[in-house]
Structure formats: structure tokens, C-alpha cells
Symmetry: C2
Subunit: 356 residues, 2 copies
């Protein structure tokens, strides 16, 4: 296809904004997929926050050894996935912007992208979290993208622990896109024989499920740390799921069917049996240390998104005096803040509104 002339091409381009374990895993998938998509450039740029690893720049390591030795060691990345430390350069020609960076860096990233944004570009967020807007309550991270960049923004959510996806173990995922043409394009970028993508329209429901399940996962970890078994964990998953539904229906307008997609119940289950938020829950049951210390000890300094999300959700619920209707969300926030004992968690389940 005259690849030497690709600089003149009208082919579409993807940029990946973020390069942690999930960003690098998606880089692997998308990098491989575009090689088989006629209407996409082979080159996929991935923005990497530059750091020095073993005396070398991480971008140089990725671009020469095709491995992200810091965040996804042992996984071969495609040769056409190019690490770029310059976010503006990485995104300036991109038609599809995949956001997969820690959510506290998102606003700043949008400000850098804004001046170079290509006309007609759209976003897709892979970030599982919420923003807090003073006076408004919780705000979707995609709304932050939509407002700052004035572009449409879909999401990719699902039961996708990055380590397992990078090893090509079978799983499902959900693309939620109001626009079905974009939904179909995103599916073509993401789907592989081991990563099966369903497309739905409910962007709001999918994104919120992805954020809220992290709170419930802390609860599953708490129960595990307190010595409870699979029955208790299933009860927490179910009651947490009901609170997720109730919260999303209370403040947003999702579709009922979204909750049974991979982004709903399946992601909730996976996160309650594996991942960082569950680990923090176990740690909260085992010690009395503050959560920041536990993130340092147990997560190598990475943050547990559910702690932040619980705080944002609690602030919204308590301002509207609805906290008693969401006992799981509420007690988990209080336990994370060390304002309640870990073992009060189970007693709050005994008289859950779902049992009345």
C-alpha cells in the first residue's frame, strides 16, 4: 500500500494517552489490529510520561526493545507502537484519542491536547474513575473530556484485569458509544480472538459502572480480610451491585440492560476477586494504618481508585442526605478514612434496605 508515502496518506490515526499496564496492554492490541485495518495508519503513538529506568529513558527502552519494562514487563509490544514523551506531538494528527491515564492527570492532558486537536477527532476513555465538581457533585471523566476538548467521547469498559489481557487470556469488554459508526470503528480497533467486544449505546451507564465497582471491590477485600467466605462475598457483590444501580438511576439516565454487560456485573465480579481495590480492602481489615500508607506498602505506591471514588460518592450522597440509602458506599468511605472500624462493615449489611 505504498507505505513509504504514508506521510501523504488520508488514513486515520490512533493515539494512546497513557502507558501504564492497561495503556500498554491496549497499545499491544490496537497496534496489532491496525496492521490489518486498511483505513488506519500502521503507526500508533502512545504518550509516555518520561522517566529514567535502569539509567535509560523509558520511551527509548520501549521503542528499541518493544517492551514496557516498568509497567508491563515480559509482554512483547508491536513494532509500530511508538512511545512518545511529547503529548502534543503524540496527539496532533490523531483521529481517535484513547484516554488511559490516571484520572488526576486528565484535565492537564486535555489542556495540552486542545491547541493541536485535529478536526473531527473523537475520544474514548478507558479510565475507571469519577471527577468531583464542587457544587455539582460527581462528574463523569468523559464529560471533562467533552467539555475541555469539545469532542464526542465513548468508553471502553469491562472485566479486564490488565495482566490477564496482556497474556491473551479470553475475556469480554464493552464499547459504549452513542454514535454507532464510532462504536463500530472502536470495536475494529479493540477486538481480537481473545478480547471480545460488544457495542452498546449507553456511555453514561457503562462509565459509571466502571467507576463505582471499585468501591464494592474494597468491600469484597474487607470481607476477605475479616475472614468471611464466598457466601458473604457474593452478598456484598449483589448488594453493592444494587447500590450501583440505584445510584446511577438516581443521578443519571442509564439503560437497564447495561448492568448485565461485561462493563456491569462481569467487571464487578472480576474486580471483587482480583486487583488493587480488593487488596486495599484486605489491608484495611488487617491493620489500622491510613490508606495512603497501605497504598505505599501493598500497591507499590499506586493508588486504589475506589478510595477516591468512595469519597466523591459519599460527598454527593451526604449533601443530598441519601447516605443511609447506600450503606455499603457510605461505610466503605468511612472505613477508608479510618472514621469507622473495619469490622463494622458486616453489621451494616444485616439491615440493608434491599432486605426490607
Amino acid at each position: 500500500m505504498l507505505r513509504g508515502f504514508s506521510i501523504m496518506s488520508t488514513k486515520r490515526r490512533v493515539a494512546i494517552i497513557g502507558s501504564g499496564n492497561w495503556g500498554s496492554t491496549i497499545g499491544k492490541i490496537v497496534g496489532n489490529n491496525v496492521l490489518n485495518l486498511e483505513n488506519f495508519e500502521d503507526e500508533v503513538r502512545m504518550w509516555v510520561y518520561e522517566e529514567i529506568v535502569n539509567g535509560k529513558k523509558l520511551t527509548e527502552i520501549i521503542n528499541t526493545s518493544h517492551e514496557n519494562i516498568k509497567y508491563l514487563p515480559g509482554i512483547k509490544l508491536p513494532f509500530n507502537l511508538i512511545a512518545d514523551p511529547d503529548l502534543a506531538n503524540c496527539t496532533k494528527d490523531a483521529d481517535v484519542l484513547l484516554f488511559v491515564l490516571p484520572h488526576q492527570f486528565l484535565a492537564k492532558a486535555c489542556d495540552i491536547i486542545k491547541p493541536v486537536l485535529k478536526s473531527g477527532a473523537y475520544g474514548c476513555s478507558l479510565i475507571k474513575g469519577l471527577d468531583e465538581k464542587p457544587g455539582v457533585g460527581v462528574r463523569l471523566l468523559t464529560d471533562l473530556i467533552r467539555e475541555r476538548l469539545q469532542i464526542p467521547c465513548a468508553v471502553l469498559m469491562g472485566a479486564n484485569l490488565a495482566g490477564e489481557v496482556s497474556q491473551e487470556m479470553f475475556c469480554e469488554a464493552t464499547v459504549a458509544s452513542l454514535d454507532l459508526v464510532r462504536g463500530k470503528e472502536l470495536k475494529s480497533l479493540f477486538q481480537t480472538p481473545y478480547f471480545r467486544v460488544s457495542v452498546i449505546k449507553d456511555e453514561v451507564g457503562a462509565e459509571l459502572c466502571g467507576a463505582l465497582k471499585n468501591i464494592v471491590a474494597i468491600g469484597a477485600g474487607l470481607a476477605h480480610g475479616l475472614g468471611y467466605g464466598d457466601n458473604t462475598k457474593a452478598a456484598i457483590i449483589r448488594l453493592g451491585f444494587m447500590e450501583m444501580k440505584k445510584f446511577i438511576f438516581e443521578f443519571f439516565a442509564p439503560l437497564e440492560s447495561t448492568f448485565l454487560e461485561s462493563c456491569g456485573v462481569a467487571d464487578l465480579i472480576t474486580t471483587c476477586y482480583g486487583g488493587r481495590n480488593r487488596k486495599i480492602g484486605i489491608a484495611l481489615a488487617e491493620t489500622e494504618k491510613p490508606v495512603t500508607a497501605l497504598e505505599g506498602e501493598r500497591l507499590g505506591g499506586q493508588s486504589a481508585q475506589g478510595v477516591l471514588t468512595a469519597a466523591e460518592v459519599y460527598s454527593m450522597l451526604s449533601s443530598k442526605r441519601l447516605d443511609h440509602q447506600f450503606p455499603i458506599f457510605t461505610i466503605i468511605h468511612l472505613i477508608c478514612q479510618r472514621k469507622a472500624q473495619a469490622d463494622t462493615f458486616i453489621s451494616c449489611l444485616r439491615n440493608h434496605p434491599e432486605h426490607l
Copy 2:
């Protein structure tokens, strides 16, 4: 309350038909609860299939040491729970019959109960399985009870691994009873601070969820045995859940809300992470032995209910040429029968109808 005159009493009586680990656990709960229920006799009779353990009759052991040392060792049973080897004697005065025996003994048990059945008595089934009626397809076990005894029959289902419930670890359960007076009475018999009971009306949906989830749990075990992780397991749980719903809606008339009760999604999750059916799935992935040999080796000769249920469901689906719409149910049956290799399981998920 003049207990010496209880023989003259008009108080109500409960009989428990079955004394395995789940029957004995329920015996413990109900035995303790009736002591605080004014309208129930203290004495609860539990039918025990007589066997000799350590040179003594199991009924005598239970009635003197108040422990079922064979099926629920280490758990203290209430003094008022009386083991009875004579099924007719056990049930002749009972107003509430709790069925919790292996399903292959159910028809015979009904025939013994029939001549002594007290007028006005009703049943509640705790059995998680299906019956097969030639020419009709699958039949509910409660329909077998209803037809043979001509009594109403509710169910108790939920995310209730017996070992954990007997240790009083927090969990939820679902009573499904068309009649709400009976539903309320059953809740009073079952609920404790660690065993939280919700009452719904959908007897059919609850019973079928309890039976079908055992098939999916074999699939979760297969994935585990094949080396897959939590993402894959969550995909199997979700896709299996969708097949459960589709099957129940195809052949019966459940309520949508039942699937999110403890008897639905929560029981499914628990069974996919613990219990006998999952164990058989793991064994099926690890060896090529027939399932009966695996039940002997891995389950001490107990049967994995999901194997039988899968056969009954497959027979119904294939006779109606619907098997291709239920790839998980179908392949699991074929793997259980050793007509398909265990590793074909994952490939059948890649093009599941849910992904189209």
C-alpha cells in the same frame, strides 16, 4: 408455656426431610428459631437415612451428641432437633415440610409421606436440581412434590455454601412463595442475624436459577483447570447467566427481578468460586477420566448436580433444536460426557450469540 402438655398443643410443627450438610445446617437454624416462635412446637424432626458410623447408628449419635459427625462435623445442633430414621413418623404431624435430600430420592420420599400427610401442610424445597420427565423435558422438583402430594410448595434458594452458613458467616437467601403468608412464615423459620432472607413470589424463577447455575459452575471450574484467570471466569459467569435467563424465559414464566436476588446472580457467583460443581469442572480439565470416576476421587463419591442438570437441559434443548443458541450449556454437557475435549470450552465462547 406448659411444655409438658405440648402433646395436646395446636402449635405448628416443622419436619426436615434430609440430613446432609445443608439439611443439618438448616436443622440448626430452624431448630434454634422455633424456640423463639410462640406458634411453633419446640421439637423439629429431621429425617436421617440410617447408617452406621463408628459402630453406632447415626440417628443415635445425633440425638445424644447433638452433632452430625458424618455430614456436618464440628457444628453443635440444637437439642430440640430430633433425628428420626422413619420418614413417615418424622413427617406425620408436620405442617411445614422442608425438602433437602438428594433429588433422586425425592419421588420415593413423597410416596412414603403421602399416606401420613397432615391436612393443610405445605412444602418448601431446598433442593437445587431438575427432574426429567420423558416426553415433557425438564420438570421442576417442586412440581414433582406438588403433583405427588397435592400441596403447595415454596423454595429456599440463595448463595449458601453449607459449610459457611453452618459457621454463621453472614449471607443472604431468597424464599420464593406464591403465597405471602407462607412466605412470611418461612422467613420466620429461616432468618437469623447471619442469614438474611428476602421473600419474593417467583417460585419458578428462583428454583430454576438454583438448578441451572450448577452447569455454569462446571464451566468456571473448567476455565480454572485450563489455567485461565478472573477475567475469563467473569465472562463465563456473565455468559452463563445470560443462558440461564434465556432458558428460563424460553420454557417458563419467571420475573426479571428474580435474577438479581440472592437466588440468582449471587448464588451463581458463589457456586462458580466454591463448591462441588466447580471442583468437577477443574477435574474435567485436568484429566480424561469419566465423570463418575472423578466424583469418586474428588467428591468422596458425592455427585455433582450440574452434570445431571446439564444432561437434562441438553436433552430438552437438542430435542427442540435450540442447542446452538446455548453454547455454554451444550459444550459443558458434551465435556461432562467426554464427547468433547475440555479445551474446546473456551473456543465456544469466542462466538457466543451474546457477542453478535
